[in-house]
């Protein structure tokens, strides 16, 4: 019996050696793994303005064992910021990086100005969805993001659009839409079209390139579709699924986009860990518009452009006012 037990113990020791928890205290190893992982999984490194070979080589050479963890965090932050990807983030126990805070973006919405100056009959359907009327003929829908249970969000959005059936125009305000599920964006687009249309395509980054193209389409949902005039408001803080919605708005002839160019990252986001336990996020999907345009790194331009940096939104909202004019 003891010989059998000893076999089991020896086997255990051998098996344990198969799983080594190595390099957790090495800056160089953490940097090397981050470089390899981004190259393997991220589309951010493929942006035309990014020379990944050059920036990763510099990061690798600077990530010595002689720097402390605060210095290593700063170094890693500088490396990640070279992608200009709002999806990129880094968090440790002592510091957090949100790339969008470093992109010199300006918000082009002031919620209290909008609510106090332009909205009536406000209904908060859930924390991220608000509907209201601008006047007797114009409805208003605000989404702070596209998050939430798919069926629940779809039900809310479809009910709101149905309620606006008597209006002659609709404003969809996505100026600080923080993204979420593309399916929820699709649910809303499906209420704005009475025909089946290709929306966009996505592909995951793989070890040797990309996987198969996944085609997204939109098509009429429910008995009523809002095919009268629609204005979509966008800005630099319209991100991810908010941008994908904007891609859909671009292909609908009765929809016009007003505001600033969107953030610049439309693919889905992934999270991973570094060897030292820090967590980071990045974009892993290539997302192309129905006509093949790649807006990654540049954002989706509006039909009527307002430079966010020049706007004073403290007492009036020039973008909403322009939308009202366009709808009349």
């Amino acid at each position: 019996m003891y010989s059998k037990l000893s076999v089991l113990i020896i086997l255990g020791i051998v098996l344990n050696s198969c799983l080594k928890n190595d390099n957790i205290n090495s800056n160089a190893a953490a940097a090397a793994d981050l470089i390899e992982s981004l190259e393997r999984y991220s589309v951010s490194v493929l942006r035309p303005n990014v020379d990944y070979t050059k920036v990763s080589a510099k990061y690798k050479s600077d990530a010595s064992e002689n720097i402390d963890e605060e210095q290593f965090f700063e170094l890693t932050q500088d490396f990640l910021l070279t992608f200009y990807d709002p999806h990129v983030s880094l968090s440790s126990s002592f510091d957090t990086l949100r790339s969008i805070d470093y992109l010199n973006y300006t918000k082009n919405i002031n919620s209290s100005t909008v609510e106090n100056g332009y909205l009536q009959n406000i209904k908060q359907h859930q924390s991220n969805i608000l509907s209201a009327t601008i006047n007797d003929t114009i409805g208003y829908l605000y989404l702070s993001d596209f998050m939430g249970d798919r069926a629940e969000v779809e039900s809310i959005l479809h009910r709101i659009i149905d309620d606006f059936s008597s209006k002659s125009g609709l404003i969809i305000d996505l100026r600080d839409n923080n993204g979420g599920s593309a399916y929820n964006a699709q649910s809303l687009l499906n209420k704005l079209t009475n025909e089946d249309l290709p929306w966009h395509t996505t592909q995951n980054k793989t070890k040797n390139g990309f996987d198969n193209v996944f085609e997204w389409n939109i098509g009429p949902a429910g008995n009523f579709q809002f095919t009268k005039k629609v204005i979509v408001l966008t800005g630099k803080y319209t991100i991810s699924a908010g941008e994908r919605f904007t891609m859909g708005a671009k292909i609908l002839p009765h929809v016009k986009i007003i505001g600033d160019t969107t953030a610049n990252t439309q693919g889905s986001v992934m999270g991973r860990e570094m060897y030292n336990g820090w967590k980071y996020t990045f974009t892993f999907e290539k997302c192309l518009a129905a006509d093949g345009t790649n807006y990654e790194g540049v954002g989706i331009p509006p039909d009527i452009y307002y430079d966010s940096k020049t706007l004073d939104l403290t007492s009036s909202d020039v973008i909403i006012e322009r939308a009202i004019v366009e709808l009349q």
Partner: protein, 270 residues
């Protein structure tokens, strides 16, 4: 469901289990014993788990869980049928997190095993050999975005068991399982990508992403177990077991898992 191990400390739990076993033994000692070859048992144990799933993290996560188990056994002079089920779940026991040496921890994890072995006795010896059909599901949630990961291995293979009788009351049985073919389900991509989610929402995609693979084609698994049976009455057997398992799956990225488990089962023979 009541979280059994949250209500009791481990020591209190062990003492209560012992009391239960003694009660079980006392009750079972009376009454007429009928010769039968069907038995079932309930047990608990500890499972030490270490794994590294490169598709989610470069870090090794280790820790332990407290499995609850059920087994049934039917033996004749020539055959042995054995069914084992065990589950580690935070909805049943406490959520003991798997941790890395970089001070990160999984939010949650659970593991379920269902095994069936049909064994034939070889030439009236103490050796048994036969088929093993096994299903294992190991799910974990990391504490970062899209940090869900899982693997399901449904396998068929060969199982060898040697039953060594030490005394009338005590037997010792080492066994080894080598699966030959498996249905393996892993995340189709690095995170829950759109195509998978679309299939998931349309309820037709879960099986679509599984892969049938012969052993050594991107995966390997081995399990070794030693069990000690101690008959404490004509109907009651205490079974202590210790085992080790190792497997790797190479898609979409390499997953390596090692576990060691020890457990104790009280078995009642009908």
């Amino acid at each position: 469901m009541i979280k059994i191990f949250q209500l009791y400390s481990l020591r209190a739990l062990v003492s209560k289990l012992l009391l239960l076993l003694v009660g079980f033994y006392t009750l079972a000692s009376y009454g007429q014993v009928v010769e039968n070859n069907f038995s079932f048992g309930l047990g608990a144990g500890i499972d030490l788990v270490s794994f590294k799933d490169v598709s989610s993290s470069p870090l090794v996560y280790s820790g332990f869980g407290l499995p609850l188990s059920f087994n049934a056994k039917y033996n004749t002079t020539k055959t042995l049928h054995q069914l084992d089920f065990s589950i580690i779940s935070p909805s049943i026991t406490n959520n003991y997190p798997l941790k890395s040496k970089a001070n990160t921890a999984l939010i949650s994890w659970n593991k379920t095993n269902l095994n069936y072995q049909f064994l034939l006795k070889i030439n009236q010896s103490s050796n048994y050999v036969g088929a093993a059909v096994k299903a294992q599901y190991f799910y974990r949630t990391y504490n970062f975005l899209d940090g869900d990961s899982w693997d399901f291995i449904g396998s068929a293979g060969i199982h060898y068991l040697k039953q060594i009788t030490i005394t009338d009351k005590y037997t010792f049985a080492p066994s080894i399982t080598l699966p030959l073919l498996a249905f393996i389900h892993r995340k189709p991509s690095l995170t829950l990508d759109e195509e998978f989610l679309d299939d998931f929402y349309n309820r037709d995609g879960i099986l679509k992403y599984g892969k049938w693979k012969p052993v050594l084609n991107d995966w390997f698994k081995i399990e070794i177990n030693i069990s000690n049976e101690f008959k404490i009455s004509k109907r009651i057997t205490l079974l202590a077991n210790a085992g080790a398992g190792y497997y790797f799956i190479n898609f979409p990225e390499k997953l390596t898992t090692i576990n060691y488990q020890i457990g104790c089962t009280a078995s009642y023979q009908f």
